[in-house]
Point group: C2
Chain length 346, copies 2
DNA sequence: AGCCGAATGAGGTACGCACCTCAGAAAATG
DNA sequence: CATTTTCTGAGGTGCGTACCTCATTCGGCT
């Protein structure tokens, strides 16, 4: 298979080059206490000079343990949540070979205090890092801050927590997602004036708010002949969803666009389908799930704007790991893309 | 940071459970010769029984060397090729920490025999695996076959080599990409009948052929009122490109769509721009590059259909690595997506 | 039964680092 | 100056595997 005498400098070489002992090199490399600032500087310079790079493979092995990461997710959810949980499981299985232990934790998301309490129960003894999917509210923000102080690394997952650190969020720019939807709806509708309906679970979540803002800004600027109706909330209720959809379709004869803004599109799609194949001329939803894929195939949806759950999960794990090992990440690899799906690129 | 006594079974445990020695376990795990079939079976069962999983971290370390991978790329190319080379460099830098050495090799792609010769010069002593971006021709196919026989792992990169093994290609389904473009062009044009122009470097490459097939099939079926002109080849020549574009625009007053099918869109875009901001009502190109991004922003392009170069490179590396270590890959992670870019989701 | 090659065991070294202890040196303190 | 505190060095052990050698045993053969 070919030998590869990389002959990369090791910690031993580094110790020699810096004129210190292995113990000191170890202290510097791992940020342990008990090293004079001047000595640290000496070692740092030696690192530069000989081009030392840590061997993460050996380090992980020597640490004789892997990392334990958790994903804090809402208890209630439909298809998209299950896609994510699936990917967490999948990533967990692959990760075992690399000494990773990954699991999903479900918390009640109706009450932010409940979520905050669940976060408060997490200890650094059990978990090295958590990815948190939760609405941005003061109690949760505090809980996250305390979690960090306790030594547990965190990233905001899908729902942004407006962190000062930009590398602490794994997800898309929802305002851009809203603009993207606006562009597609507008282009697909064409020149005709008309009305666009927007439906979502709840506007409590930042995600929905941002998407709506992006949509409005874009439509008003680029397609002034289109009118976007106020957002209708279903609160995840099936009967209410059917009700809302029926009312919209009945009251707006000039309905040209239908935007399912929440991430769980199954029930709204069923409600839409109940009114015939093309109740709304142009329909767009979010997230790739069995329901949205089927709807694209059936022509019920024109496009789906989504973020890849597998990418999301793997990215969160990579970022948490990088934080644990106190090293930099490849930003370009962690940028989650706003994907546009149509029937042809599924 | 919290202890994590995984206590995963080790090779030692496995040896004990199987009632064999460590040496035998090693022979079985690494597929070395000198083990009776019955003994192999015993060990396999023990693996199942105690739930043994190899520790890749320890294995990589013990192997005391990493892997050396090469990317065989054409010498001539413009922006997209540079994006790819950039990502190869970036991945190489990150990979050094994981004992990977990755480099790009440029070969003359005008003559397949030249490429084949370059592949013939690669030896397992210098390289553990190569990702090959080259047209599918008999000499190259043979060269790849011989390369494998010599013990060098290979994957086809971006350009499919129609391999029997589906896990030997990293790239998109170009026929689906053609359909995707067809869908977008058709929807963006709307109901109007009209003509679509198609321009590319060369139809010699499978990629272009497949894209064209996908486009034609889709347009004929779904938008019969649109007529797709024969593909025009530029052969990478700037003057010829300007010429071709001028001729098309002059001769087709009903031109509604313009499809830049090759992966290097810079020169065609310049030629198009020379005729005013919206010479063609709907224009689509491939691959995200500075030129296509600028064109999207300027409104010269309506959409860009692309495959992420970073994902491509990392995926190729992961697959090559998995082949070297003789293990399975996560198929879903390696599926390259056909991405649709518009101004809003850049 | 005797022979031979194939199969297996025992045991070692190495990989590059984390993490530990303890003694001794250097620096800061009074 | 003596004493405390802070730094530093030396050296060891272990992580889970790869890879090597050499001796031994087994199975199938004549």
């Amino acid at each position: 298979m070919g030998f590869c005498r990389n002959m990369r400098p090791t910690t031993k070489d580094l110790a020699e080059a810096a004129g210190v002992s292995l113990a000191t090199v170890d202290r510097v490399l791992n940020g342990r206490a008990g090293v004079r600032a001047r000595t640290v500087e000496t070692v740092m310079q030696a690192i530069q000079k000989i081009g030392f790079e840590r061997n993460h493979v050996a380090a992980t092995l020597a640490r004789r343990r892997g990392y334990r990461f958790g994903f804090v997710l809402p208890r209630d959810g439909d298809e998209y949540l299950h896609e994510i949980i699936d990917k967490i499981r999948e990533t967990g299985e692959t990760g075992r070979g690399e000494m990773l232990e990954i699991k999903a934790l479900r918390v009640d998301d109706h009450d932010p205090h409940e979520t905050a309490r669940a976060l408060g129960a997490l200890r650094a003894e059990d978990l090295d890092g958590v990815a948190i999917m939760a609405p941005e509210t003061p109690p949760i923000r505090d809980a996250i801050r305390r979690l960090r102080e306790r030594g547990v690394h965190t990233v905001a997952f899908i729902s942004d927590q407006q962190d000062e650190d930009p590398q602490s969020f794994v997800g898309i720019d929802n305002r851009a997602a809203g603009r993207t939807v606006g562009h597609l709806i507008g282009r697909f509708i064409g020149q005709r004036p008309g009305t666009i309906a927007v439906i979502t679970d709840t506007m409590q979540a930042r995600d929905s708010l941002e998407r709506r803002l992006g949509l409005d800004a874009f439509i008003n600027r680029t397609f002034p002949q289109l009118r976007v109706l106020p957002t209708l909330e279903t609160h995840g209720d099936r009967a209410r969803t059917f009700d809302v959809v029926r009312t919209i379709l009945a009251h707006h004869r000039d309905l040209e666009g239908f935007y399912i803004m929440g991430s769980e599109a199954r029930v709204p799609l069923e409600a839409l389908a109940a009114h015939g194949p093309r109740a709304a001329p142009v329909a767009i939803a979010h997230e790739r799930t069995p329901a949205t894929v089927a709807a694209l195939r059936a022509g019920l949806l024109d496009a789906v704007v989504t973020q890849d759950p597998g990418h999301l999960v793997r990215s969160a794990v990579r970022i948490l790991r990088a934080k644990c090992e106190n090293r930099a990440i490849v930003a370009s690899q962690e940028r989650i893309r706003i994907e546009i799906l149509i029937e042809e690129n599924l």
